[in-house]
């Protein structure tokens, strides 16, 4: 499935809920299925900068596709990174780099995009895209 299709799938899932509380509960549930980063990588090197809670992310290239794993010490951040990883993991770097991220607005997470949010959703997106860019550069060099 393409990134765009996964995003639409998530938008549909969130559209089923009437209020923010149900959406948050669903997001928290999604956090429970997050592919977890191995504990040895839960170090400062893998921290996403600019977060009030700790969010660790690591990327690997498997068959030319990026596979992300992550974890967080806060439940809401874990839900957010789980959604992002569901969208971005298992795609080629270029597709990740070029992906539009408007969907976060459509699932009611817009307030997490403000620069004031210490757990910036935008920092997480930036980090995932930076990994993609790094791998794409590596592929181009080879």
């Amino acid at each position: 499935m393409k990134i765009k299709q996964i995003q639409e799938e998530i938008i549909d899932e969130f559209a089923m809920f009437d209020d923010w509380m149900q959406r948050y509960e669903y997001m928290i549930d999604l956090g429970k299925s997050l592919p977890l980063i191995e504990s040895k990588y839960k170090t400062d090197d893998y921290l996403v900068n600019g977060c009030q809670s700790k969010v660790w992310v690591r990327a690997e290239l498997v068959d030319n596709q990026i596979v992300f794993k992550a974890d967080s010490d806060a439940i809401i951040s874990k839900g957010i990174i789980a959604i992002l990883i569901r969208v971005f993991s298992h795609h080629e770097p270029n597709e990740i780099i070029e992906a539009n991220t408007d969907f976060v607005d459509k699932i009611g997470l817009k307030d997490h995009l403000s620069p004031n949010r210490a757990n910036g959703l935008s920092s997480m997106i930036k980090q995932l895209k930076l990994y993609a860019l790094a791998y794409q550069t590596k592929i181009n060099d080879e």
Binding site: W20, M21, Y24, E25, Q52, S53, D73, A74, I75, I76
Partner: protein
């Protein structure tokens, strides 16, 4: 026994237009007063009034508007002189905020401090009260000594007294801890420091909203605060300094207003307070700050303290009924600030959910990482009450907190 506080809460709430706002579809409950207090309508009006009627630069123009603006600006200085009971109005310096005031003093001591001199600060300090001294020590070779805290978050005064010696030149403490709300025994600290001829600067940012400060009674050398925490606008700070110390330290910023004579060889500085107020100051902000302090005094800080204390006791009692909830900072004397965590739930998670209910709290390290390190926690949730908050709001907050805990457990 019920205290008779005589606060007309309905009337007071009417003075603050922002309290009528809806946030995320809910009525705003503003419990982040330790970060900044809300602004009463008459302070907002005074800013509009300034720009509508007499906006002009102060201290220079011979024209009518400039004189009117200068009078209003200087009148504000006198208001703060009286409020803090300073001997002279020129001992009140207007800055851009507490951080600016602290940096001004720290900068002033660059030439006075020598290698191996000692500066005492406390473990309760806000980052803004740590970094300037570290910078000062890097430049002068002076050393920082830290007053430790006990498990209740109180300063260990015996340890402080042991740190004092003939090398101690400066002591910097906050009057009230921003993270825990504990009131420090500054009068005692000042007295002890003076026995060793050390100079004392007190950060009063968290104290001035709740209590009357008398700089003469305290015998404090420097006292600093920001007016946005006392019903004024953002961008105005107060630096009180004893005349002899203000005369001893050099200007912080060079520019217009702070000079007396300028030639290319040498400039002579203006006297107090202009020496420290280079450039065009925040004129409307200073005038509005004066209106803010008048407003606060019209209610009365004693009444405010008593009412806020009722809110503090009520909220503390309600919070402690929640299973797994831990409050950080216990002391006989506290301002209306409660820092807490619930079990292992991350403060950020609770803060985010409370926000969805329209409740403004502060989460995280609260610019006080050394305290969080001491308690070995990633941060706390902090609620801080002002005199316009109510028990009904606390009830709503407790209800929302229960829902948040349910969602996050």
């Amino acid at each position: 026994m019920k205290k008779n506080t005589h606060i007309n809460i309905d009337q007071i709430r009417n003075d603050f237009p922002i309290l009528k706002r809806k946030v995320n579809g809910e009525s705003l409950i503003y419990f982040d007063n330790a970060a900044t207090s809300q602004t009463p309508q008459l302070v907002i009006d005074s800013i509009v009034d300034y720009y509508s009627k007499y906006n002009s630069n102060i201290h220079r123009g011979v024209h009518f508007l400039s004189q009117e603006a200068t009078d209003a600006y200087e009148n504000s200085r006198v208001k703060f002189q009286k409020h803090f009971n300073a001997h002279n109005s020129y001992e009140i310096i207007f800055t851009s905020g507490t951080t600016h005031s602290i940096n001004l003093v720290a900068n002033g001591f660059k030439k006075i401090l020598k290698k191996n001199d000692e500066i005492i600060i406390s473990q309760l300090e806000h980052h803004s009260n740590i970094v300037p001294w570290q910078m000062l020590c890097e430049e002068t070779g002076a050393k920082i000594k830290v007053i430790p805290i006990n498990n209740n978050g109180e300063l260990i005064i015996d340890e402080f007294e042991k740190l004092l010696n003939s090398k101690t030149k400066l002591v910097f403490v906050n009057h009230v801890s921003n993270a825990l709300g504990i009131v420090n025994p500054i009068k005692h600290i000042i007295k002890k420091a003076h026995e060793f001829n050390a100079i004392v600067l007190v950060d009063g940012a968290q104290a001035t909203p709740h209590m009357k400060i008398d700089v003469i009674d305290l015998d404090v050398d420097f006292y600093v605060t920001s007016t946005h925490k006392i019903c004024g606008p953002t961008g105005v700070g107060i630096l009180y300094g004893k005349e002899k110390w203000l005369n001893k330290i050099p200007p912080f910023l060079g520019g217009g207003e702070m000079i007396d004579q300028v030639t290319f060889e040498k400039s002579t500085y203006a006297g107090l307070p202009n020496k420290f107020e280079a450039g065009t100051p925040n004129i409307s902000g200073v005038i509005a700050s004066g209106v803010g302090i008048d407003y606060l005094n019209s209610i009365g800080l004693e009444k405010i303290y008593a009412y806020e204390n009722e809110l503090l006791e009520y909220a503390t009692r309600e919070l402690l009924q929640i299973k797994g909830l831990k409050i950080y900072g216990f002391s006989a004397k506290k301002t209306s600030v409660i820092s807490f965590n619930v079990g292992n739930i991350h403060p950020y998670d609770i803060g985010s959910i409370l926000d969805k209910f329209g409740i403004a709290t502060r989460t995280g390290q609260l610019c006080a990482q050394p305290i969080m390190d001491y308690f070995k926690i990633p941060g706390t949730i902090r609620v801080s009450f002002s005199f316009y908050n109510t028990k009904e709001e606390i009830d709503e907050f407790i209800k929302a907190l229960h829902k948040a805990i349910l969602m996050l457990s």
